[in-house]
Assembly symmetry: C2
Homo-oligomer: 356 residues x 2
């Protein structure tokens, strides 16, 4: 196996994915939870996090954001860290991998052709009624997964959902998984206590006490999830081809919902692909979460940003951003198509120089 792809769990699926022609789908969504000060770094201000998913995908498709004058950057860190959208774009373009966008409920809609799964953003989970349409979004996801899996032999699903690790913590906690202090985040300092408080407030608002387990996975999403989670869970269940979940701990919440809806789901036809920045993050533990759900292989790509000439990319080494817009999975499938990590990194750097 490639030395820049670290494997946690069985590496068997990676051989099966070696000669596939992947389709990369990025699912975007918002949750008003991202407007809580201090909860996410995915935006210059809490309010601007509403624009991040749209701006990210505009950057991937057009090479520049259109809904915002400025490129999304995560502001905490030594140098402003560029959005992971540049990693995704560079990785997919170099290997000529097709990209589609699906809207599961972004606050600001991207100026690109996109697949509409749901209109409305999620509510602040503290209200305990975050995604009233979770079942409908899930059903639409199933339909989309069925269709897309007729058009590709490998579906790669990324996401852009500011504050998505908090809603992931919400769903995991509601479903009885031990995820406290384990979800990742976009800042070097992971505000675990704030995330935990926000989740408990939401569960309590819906009538649950600490430690109560919500029996119905989609009900957990309704209460304290975000719209991306049921969309991606549905797409995975609808897919008839192998799926790579391109994301960090947010994708473990997707897996928990898949398991909750289909207890017999075969996780051997699925993997999570992320960056080394998530997998080796000392403020979170993705493996601790997935182990509780099932035999889910995790692959973590190391883009060796320590070799980079772009200071912003080095901020990733200090815990800024870490992942997003399917960056880890995009690098992995690019490598599966024969690109070297050095070429991918050079492409990312070129893109950074061009657009920042």
């Amino acid at each position: 196996m490639n030395k820049n792809i670290k494997c946690y769990g069985s590496s068997k699926i990676l051989n099966e994915l070696q000669n596939t022609n992947p389709l990369f789908l990025c699912v975007i969504a918002s949750t008003k939870t991202s407007n809580i000060p201090g909860i996410t770094g995915a935006g210059v201000t809490p309010e601007l996090t509403d624009y991040t998913p749209a701006a990210d995908l505009e950057l991937v498709i057009h090479g520049e954001p259109r809904c915002l004058a400025e490129i999304p950057q995560t502001v905490v860190g030594d140098a402003p860290a560029p959005t992971p959208a540049v990693i995704t774009k560079a990785s997919l373009n170099i290997a000529d991998i097709p990209i589609m966008v699906a809207d599961a409920g972004a606050a600001i809609k991207p100026d690109v052709p996109y697949i509409k799964l749901n209109e409305k953003p999620g509510e602040d989970i503290r209200l305990g009624n975050a995604v009233p349409d979770a079942r409908k979004i899930f059903e639409n996801g199933i339909l989309l997964g069925k269709t897309l899996s007729k058009l590709t032999d490998h579906l790669v699903i990324g996401e852009s959902t500011p504050a998505g690790t908090t809603t992931a913590l919400g769903v995991l906690t509601a479903l009885g998984y031990d995820a406290r202090m384990k979800v990742s985040g976009s800042m070097p300092e992971n505000p675990h206590d704030l995330k935990h408080e926000v989740v408990l407030e939401g569960l309590q608002a819906a009538g649950y006490k600490e430690g109560d387990v919500v029996e119905d996975a989609l009900r957990a999403v309704e209460i304290v999830g975000d719209p991306m989670i049921p969309a991606v869970a549905g797409i995975v269940i609808g897919s008839e081809v192998p799926v790579t979940l391109a994301g960090g701990t947010q994708m473990t919440a997707v897996c928990s919902v898949i398991k909750g809806v289909q207890n017999e789901f075969d996780f051997s036809k699925l993997c999570i692909s992320t960056t080394i920045f998530v997998a080796e993050d000392e403020t979170s533990d993705i493996n601790h979460i997935t182990r509780q759900i099932g035999d889910i292989s995790i692959f973590a790509v190391d883009p060796e940003f320590e070799k980079s000439q772009v200071p912003g990319l080095k901020s990733y080494l200090n815990g800024s951003v870490k992942e997003g817009v399917g960056a880890g999975g995009a690098m992995m499938v690019s490598m599966l198509k024969g690109e070297s990590i050095d070429d991918i990194r050079l492409n990312i750097e070129d893109l950074c120089k061009k657009i920042f």
Copy 2:
């Protein structure tokens, strides 16, 4: 060649399409022109034509309309003629051909996952400012065509646009083609004079006198077109694989825009596929229009509805409906995948019995 596929022009492309794995994309749109009484049969009342595209695609995807309690039927004729959506659904399902939906500006949005290209319906063309965003829709179409052509080796594009033959007449007339009395329609009596008056009124409102030629194809769409036309023209230009335009005379307007935007466009990688009800319609002349544009092959499928046990389908023989939702092209690609016209017709009948 199959005796149920009549060819006008070169049949060469049909051999090239024989072993392809098609993707069927249906582009839906509305134009307020459809609210003019008497101009279209695609709806029980002029106002209900706003619901027809959404209801059609809900029927194709879910097997039933959701935005309307009633199935769209064209009301003129001996027996109410079922929407061509049943032909499309039966033809594509039997051959397991994947279906996607794109919204170029439907008044009512379908309750299915769909690709968003444009939000707003077209205006009444009598105002002479029908599709202000035509260029933007065209650009989005190009992006979508590029992406989809990475996922299939044969793109089949249908449409559902009530009053679309009137807007087609508008664009063709504006661009200097002789299309008067030549566009088709969904009723046995084709209201040619009304369509012509409406088009002239629109051109005059935009400052053009009868016989003036609009030099810019997308400007013609802006004045007297509908949002489907620039969307499909863009998708065709963006596509890197052969395209079948699944529709009647509306698709000639698409071809006129393609020619107007790219004078050197190679029409040998494209064909129009429709029903025998359009191709042999005595109230219109699709060949007369295409001959003025370029060497465009037209294939017309005869589903032999005279053999049908369903009275509504026999209404097609008397000039009701004729085409729509890509019905002709859907039957053709189903036949290219090995289905017989008898099996396709039986499937259509079964579907009619199930849902009406």
